[in-house]
C-alpha cells in the first residue's frame, strides 16, 4: 500500500504566541491616586519569566509610607467621589473596565504567561475571559443591591485592602476589585511579588477607563507591604487570598480592630471516583483537577480517592493520558503544563517529592522532556499514599497528586473530611443519589459533580475550616463588601 513516511512520529511543530505587540516597561511604579508614583524608599525588585529566568521588569517596592499614601488616596476618593456618585454611574465604570479587558485580552494573556509561567491556552481561555466576566457580572449588580438584600439598607464599608496570590494574578485582582467597586468601596490592592505585571497593566487600563483618581490604588511589594496594608488603621476591611499560614497571621493582626476580614486560603481537595463513574471523563477531571495551572490552584484536586474495584483501570488510563500532556514554553499554544511560578515554589515542590520518596511511596512521573532553563516539574503521581502521609496532608501547590483507594461511601467521606482544609471537592459517579448524599456530607465550600475546576462569577467560592471564611462571587460575595442596616 502506498504510504507516507510514517516511520517518524507525528509531533506538533512549535506554535508560540507572538509577543511583538506586547510592551513591558523597564520599570513599574506604584499606582496611587490615579498616577504612577515612585516609591518613597526608592527600592525596586525584579520580576522574572519563570520559563527562561530572564528579568522582565523592575517593580517598585511600597513601604509603609507608600501604603499610607495609597490608603489616604482611597479614603479621599471614597469620601469625595465614589460614595457620592449614583450606583448607575459606578456600574458604567465597571462595565468599561470589563470591555477594555476584552479589547486587550491577547495582551493580558501573553503577559500573564510571561510573568507567571502558565500556559497561554489557560491565560487566553480561562484567566482573562473569566476576569472580564467578573467585572461584567458585578457591574450588573452595582445599581441593584437593594434587590440583592431585600428589605435591608445597603451601604459600602469604605476603604478595602486586598492582597492577592500569584497563581491567578489578573483573575484574583478581578475577583477582589469588581465586587468592591460595585458595592461602592474604594480599593488598595497588593499583588503577589512574583506576578505584579498584569495588576499594573490593569492599573493602566483602569486609568484609561477614566475611573476617578484614588478609587483603585495598586501597591506592589512582598510580605512587608502586605503587613503595612493589614495594619493600617484607616482600612475598613481586608480581603486576602493566599496561604493558610499568612491568613492566620492576618487574622491575628486584625483581631481586636474594627476591620472586617475575609480569607480564601489553602486546600487539599478530595477528588472521589466511584466505580460507576464515567472513567474517561473522570480521568480528564483528575488531570484538570491537579495539572491545571501546574497545580498552583487552591482548589486543586490534590487527593485522589478511587474505589478499589476500578483502581487499576483508572491508574492505567490516567498514566496513559498523562503521557500526552505537553510540558514546556508557556507561550506555545500547545503547551498543557507550563513553568512553576518561581524558584522558591519549585524548591517547595521538590522538597515534597523528596519527602514522598523518603516515606517509601511509589512515585510516577511522565517521560516528557524538560527545558534546561527555567523552573519545571513533571506531572507527578504518588500511589498507595496513607492518610497520615505528608503528601496527603499538606498543600503542595504543584503538579503532584496523592492517590488513595477506598471501599465504601462512609469510608471515603471520613477520609475526605479528615484534613484541616475544606475548600473544594469532586465527586464522579453516574448515580445522582450518590452525588447528593456526598455533597451534603463533604465539608467543602465547593463540590463539583462529574466535573472539576469550574469557575463562574455567579457562583460563590470559599472554604470551610482552615481554607478560610467569606465567599467570593455571586450574592454571597457581595455580602462581604457591604454593611446591612
Amino acid at each position: 500500500m502506498a504510504k507516507t513516511d510514517n516511520n517518524a512520529d507525528w509531533n506538533l511543530a512549535p506554535a508560540p504566541e507572538s509577543t511583538d505587540h506586547i510592551h513591558i516597561d523597564k520599570r513599574y511604579e506604584l499606582f496611587i491616586d490615579g498616577k504612577f508614583t515612585a516609591p518613597s524608599g526608592k527600592k525596586y525588585f525584579k520580576t522574572v519569566n519563570p520559563a527562561t529566568e530572564e528579568v522582565l521588569a523592575e517593580i517598585a517596592e511600597a513601604n509603609g509610607r507608600d501604603v499610607d499614601k495609597a490608603v489616604k488616596a482611597a479614603r479621599k476618593a471614597y469620601n469625595g467621589v465614589w460614595s457620592k456618585i449614583s450606583a448607575k454611574e459606578r456600574a458604567k465604570y465597571i462595565f468599561r473596565i470589563a470591555r477594555l479587558i476584552q479589547e486587550r485580552a491577547r495582551e493580558f494573556a501573553v503577559i500573564e504567561s510571561l510573568d507567571g509561567g502558565k500556559p497561554i491556552r489557560e491565560s487566553r481561555d480561562v484567566d482573562v475571559p473569566t476576569a472580564a466576566a467578573h467585572f461584567f457580572y458585578h457591574a450588573g449588580w452595582a445599581d441593584k443591591l437593594e434587590y440583592a438584600f431585600p428589605v435591608r439598607k445597603v451601604s459600602p464599608l469604605g476603604v478595602v485592602g486586598q492582597i492577592i496570590p500569584w497563581n491567578f494574578p489578573l483573575l484574583m485582582a478581578a475577583w477582589k476589585i469588581a465586587p468592591a467597586l460595585a458595592t461602592g468601596n474604594t480599593v488598595v490592592l497588593k499583588p503577589a511579588e512574583t506576578t505584579s505585571l498584569t495588576a499594573l497593566k490593569l492599573a493602566e487600563l483602569i486609568r484609561d477607563a477614566g475611573l476617578p483618581d484614588g478609587v483603585v490604588n495598586i501597591v506592589t511589594g512582598a510580605g512587608a507591604t502586605g503587613r503595612a496594608l493589614t495594619e493600617h488603621p484607616d482600612v475598613d476591611k481586608i480581603a486576602f487570598t493566599g496561604s493558610t499560614d499568612v491568613g492566620k497571621m492576618i487574622q491575628r493582626t486584625v483581631a481586636g480592630t474594627d476591620k472586617k476580614l475575609t480569607l480564601e486560603l489553602g486546600g487539599k481537595a478530595a477528588n472521589i471516583i466511584f466505580e460507576d463513574a464515567p472513567i474517561d471523563q473522570a480521568v480528564e477531571g483528575i488531570i484538570n483537577g491537579i495539572f491545571f495551572n501546574q497545580g498552583h490552584v487552591c482548589c486543586a484536586g490534590s487527593r485522589l480517592f478511587v474505589q478499589e474495584s476500578v483502581a487499576a483501570e483508572v491508574d492505567r488510563r490516567l498514566k496513559h493520558r498523562m503521557e500526552s500532556l505537553i510540558l514546556g514554553d508557556p507561550l506555545d499554544k500547545n503547551t498543557d503544563v507550563g513553568a512553576i511560578n518561581s524558584k522558591g515554589q519549585l524548591e517547595t515542590i521538590n522538597s515534597y517529592l523528596a519527602k514522598g520518596k523518603k516515606e517509601g511511596l511509589t512515585m510516577f512521573q511522565t517521560d516528557c522532556p524538560v527545558p534546561e532553563k527555567g523552573f519545571w516539574c513533571r506531572p507527578t503521581l504518588f500511589s498507595d499514599v496513607a492518610q497520615s502521609s505528608v503528601i496527603a496532608r499538606e498543600e503542595i501547590f504543584g503538579p503532584v497528586l496523592a492517590i488513595q483507594t477506598f471501599r465504601t461511601v462512609d469510608e471515603v467521606i471520613d477520609k475526605a473530611n479528615n484534613t484541616p482544609y475544606g475548600l473544594s471537592a469532586g465527586v464522579w459517579t453516574d448515580k445522582g443519589s450518590k452525588i447528593f448524599n456526598l455533597t451534603t456530607r463533604l465539608k467543602a465550600g465547593v463540590v463539583w459533580a462529574n466535573t472539576y475546576n469550574k469557575f463562574d462569577p455567579t457562583s460563590p467560592f470559599g472554604g470551610y475550616k482552615e481554607s478560610g471564611f467569606g465567599r467570593e462571587g455571586g450574592l454571597h460575595g457581595l455580602r462581604a463588601y457591604v454593611n446591612l442596616h
Binding site: T4, N6, W10, A15, R121, Q281
Partner: protein, 297 residues
C-alpha cells in the same frame, strides 16, 4: 454472549469538553504538511449512489491513485469504497496500486433485510475481490435490546468475509446516547470487527468528534485488555482539512502513534481529499488555488 460486555457510562458533557481541547491544538508548518499527507493516505474515497456507473467508478479509482499529480510525492488514498456491483470494476482499475477496494454490504445503508440476503451480499462482494467489507448493524434489533442478535449477525458476516477485513457501521446518528455508542462498539469488537465505523453517510448527524472519541476509547480499552488493535473509521461530515487534523490529534492523544496508519485509521469521505490538497498546495505556494485546479472525480 453479550451479557458480559460492559455497559460502563460515558459522560456527554465531559466528552464534548475533551473534544474542544483537541480543537485548540495548533498544527503548523511541517506538522501540518505531514498531517495533511497522512490524512490523504487514510481516506476511503467513496461513492455510494444509485447513479454510480462503471465509468464513474473508474474515474474515481484514477483519482485515488493520482490525487494531484502537479504536487510531487503525494501518497495515494487508502481505499475506494463502492457498492458490491462496482467491486470488480474498481478492483481492475486499481490493480497493482496498493489501493484497497472496500465494499458496503449487508443491505446497506438501512440493513433492512434477512440474514441470508446480508450474508449473500457480503459473499458477492468478497468474491468480486473486495479487500474490505463495510457492514451495517441491525439497528432495530439493537434498540429493541436484542444484543445477541446483533452480535451473532456481526460474527456471521465476519465469517462470510473470509480474509477481507470487516468494518462495522454503528450508524451513531441513530444511537441517541454516547453510552449506546460505547456499548455497541464493545459488541462489535467482541463479535470480531476489524474496524468500527460511525456512519453510513446517509443520515445526519454522521461522524462527530464526541462519537469518534467514545469509540476510540473503547478501542483503547480493548487494546489495554487484550493487546489487540482494532481500527476506527469516522465517516461522513468530515469535509475540511482542519477537522481532519483535529481527528488525527484525537487519535494520537487517545490511542498513540501506532494508530496513525491507514491500517488502523480511515476517513470515510468524498470531498475531504480536495480540501486537503488545497491546503497542501497552500503550504507550498502560499496561495489558495481555485477549486477548478483540483479534479472532482
Amino acid at each position: 454472549m453479550t451479557e458480559n460486555i460492559s455497559r460502563k457510562a460515558v459522560d456527554q458533557v465531559g466528552t464534548e469538553e475533551r473534544c474542544a481541547r483537541f480543537k485548540t491544538r495548533s498544527i503548523k508548518k511541517e506538522a501540518k504538511v505531514s498531517g495533511l499527507k497522512m490524512a490523504l493516505n487514510m481516506i476511503d474515497l467513496t461513492t455510494l449512489e444509485g447513479k454510480d456507473t462503471p465509468g464513474k467508478v473508474r474515474q474515481m479509482c484514477y483519482k485515488a491513485m493520482h490525487l494531484h499529480d502537479a504536487y510531487a510525492g503525494l501518497p495515494t488514498v487508502a481505499a475506494v469504497c463502492v457498492y458490491p456491483s462496482m467491486v470488480a470494476v474498481a478492483k481492475a482499475s486499481l490493480k497493482g496500486s496498493g489501493v484497497k477496494v472496500a465494499s458496503v454490504a449487508t443491505a446497506f445503508p438501512a440493513g433492512q433485510s434477512s440474514r441470508e440476503v446480508k450474508l449473500e451480499d457480503t459473499r458477492i462482494a468478497v468474491d468480486a475481490g473486495a479487500d474490505e467489507i463495510d457492514m451495517v448493524i441491525s439497528r432495530g434489533r439493537y434498540h429493541a435490546g436484542d444484543y445477541n442478535f446483533v452480535y451473532d449477525e456481526i460474527a456471521a458476516v465476519k465469517e462470510a468475509c473470509g480474509k477481507a477485513r470487516l468494518k462495522v457501521i454503528l450508524e451513531t446518528g441513530e444511537m441517541g446516547t454516547l453510552d449506546d455508542v460505547a456499548f455497541a462498539s464493545r459488541i462489535a469488537i467482541a463479535a470480531g470487527a476489524d474496524f468500527i465505523k460511525t456512519s453510513t453517510g446517509k443520515i445526519q448527524p454522521a461522524a462527530t468528534m464526541p462519537v469518534t472519541l467514545t469509540m476510540l476509547e473503547v478501542i483503547r480499552d480493548h487494546y489495554f485488555a487484550t493487546g489487540e488493535m482494532v481500527g476506527m473509521k469516522p465517516a461522513g461530515g468530515i469535509s475540511n482539512a482542519k477537522a481532519a487534523l483535529h481527528y488525527l490529534i484525537m487519535v494520537k492523544e487517545t490511542l498513540g502513534q501506532k494508530w496513525l496508519d491507514n491500517k488502523w485509521f480511515r476517513f470515510g469521505a468524498s470531498s475531504l481529499a480536495n480540501d486537503l490538497l488545497k491546503q497542501l498546495v497552500k503550504q507550498k505556494t502560499g496561495a489558495y488555488q481555485s477549486g477548478a485546479y483540483f479534479a472532482i472525480d
